[in-house]
Amino acid sequence: MKSGKGISRRGFLKVAGTTAAVAGTSGIFAPAILKAQQQPIKIGHLVPLTGFLSPMGDYAAKAGKLAIEEINAGGGVLGRPLETIVDDETNPGVGVQKATKMIQQDKVDFLLGTVSSAVCLAVMEVAERYQKIFVNSGSNSDEIRGGKCNYYTFCTEASNTQYVKAIGRYLVKNKNYKTFYILTSDYAFGHDLTRVSRRLLAELGGKEIGHDLVPTGTADYSSYILKVRNANPEVVLCNVAGADQTTFLKQYSEFGLKIDVAGGVTDTVLMWNAGKDAAQGVWTLIWWGDLDNAWTKNFSTKYRQKYGLPPENQAWGDYTSIKALAQAVQMAGTTDSKKVVEAMEKIKFDAGKGRELYYRPYDHQLIQPMYVVSIKKTGNRDQWDIFNVVSEVPGKDENLEVIAPTKEENPCNMKRA
């Protein structure tokens, strides 16, 4: 079995690390360590299982499970197994309730997850109040890592700025759009994305000739599409999120408009759901299961073997977050929040993006390349084979931070513990 090799190598490293950690501790504490071995390290995993973001939630939960299994098969972290408690996050109120319950009743050591930016912002506050680390694996709004950032929150998910600057660099180089129509999801994520998109428009010298706020969960886009057609821009900037993006694309193709589509943010599953005939446009994606590197091949193969379906980019987010957290805990030698935060700020790791990634200490944002993709219309291997990667941004020779928000764009003044 191909993947068996990967597990055993990883497993060997984990066992070796654990042995070293145990050997390095004074013998006096041995009984305490033995006792601790039975105590799992608990992670509260918040994923959207219902509502318009639920297409991503299932991948997040499954990938989390896979990461935990791999780590536990390799001897766990600090000799302790990892355990996740998965719960649904549908809105900020529920998110806060579930996160608080996880900390108070389930005694979790860490929080992980969220796709909705609104939920993420609420959960971050809980994390700070209880001084627990929260790794945001799927929420994009800039203020999460900017104005509202805090010491205990880390973002594996890229910020809207990273997404938009990536597509922006591509559009500047390859397209010469002058007139834009923007459709925006009417909640934290959409508003933020549009704010960042307008910055891009100013840079491109593009003109915004129309803008609509679209309620989340909108079932019918026909009226919006009619408005777009009447305004006749060169490109529609689609800043709607989740299942809404699928619905929009299906209906957009139905009306057969000849106006291009571009989007700062997409998720693989949304395009899978639309299908290659209806999907169109250029989009920024955080990671894609067909990227040509060993890490990605290994992860995609394992995920597919376990669940029968290829992983989506949200699977990457939660898998990577757990692996990073485990690495930091191992490095810190404890689950103490402050020590792990310091370790999180130091770790560097490969997560299938061809370069070493790291959380920037100043705003705890994972610094990483992004991928501009277009829809693969012909020669598809199967229904999952839906993207062509048209550009990796920043280029291989550029500094990764060029697409990250600058301190001026997105000031983060976190209070360090």
């Binding site: 309620p215 079932a219 009226s223 139905e254 057969g256 759901n273 639309a274 299908g275």
Partner: protein, 291 residues
Amino acid sequence: MDVTTFLQFFINGIVLGAIYILLAIGLSIIFGMIGIVNLTHGILYMLGAYATVTLAPYVGFFPNLVLSPLLVGLLGMAVEAAFLRKLYKGDPALGLLFTFGLAMFLEQVVRATWGTQGIPFQIPAALRGAIAAGPIIYSKYRYFIGLCSILVIAGLWYFLEKTPYGMIIRAGSRDPDMVRVLGISLKPVFTAVFGLGAAMAAISGVLASPLAGVEPAMGTNTGTFAFVVVVIGGLGSFWGSVISGLMVGEVESFCILFWPPMADASKFALMIAVLLLRPRGLLGRRWEKFE
């Protein structure tokens, strides 16, 4: 606003309205006959869509306009015969609670059977693209939806008004005791009505399947909107639902033109306005058996 824009949004409002009518009318006849607010309606709509995407690879799209409603209708009848029937004598809240629970259960069944991943599904080749009629360019498939809705609504009206079965249903929803006195058992009628309502929800699901993402959350909002349409039109009123569906469609269409952030809220604002003026809805009448 020029005439072309007005016509475009007006036609679009009618088609939106047609979808709302199909959704709402099933809910309305179930309430009128059985007195149950069917909270599984959005789920039955979703099942219609799922049946379509599952069967289409074998039979194509069009036979689903009959097959899917038939299957979902049978499911509805089974649910009525096995569970709902036992709740008629109890507190009216029981039916509400039961259908609420059933909706959550069925949604999870869909997740477990078809996965949480949505299923890509396209408009049948014959109906893709847009047609230009003068300055008005509009989607072929949406004209098709409009046409189907008119046929279904007309068929249902004929069935309820002009056939003996329809007469029993109408009589049964007004005065069930008198119908029983005349020697007609209402038990099978209740089952049939629930099945009919479920089938109506499924038809709208079939028509929506190429337009909306077919995924487990697709029924959540839809059920709510159907309920809004029924309340505006007057619970149990056939023509009430038709008028109200068209109104909601037009209000939504023009709201998106002028004030898009309020598109969702507009339906509820309309409902509040109508209820303030006519507490039983537009064509709602006093129903002795519920008051």
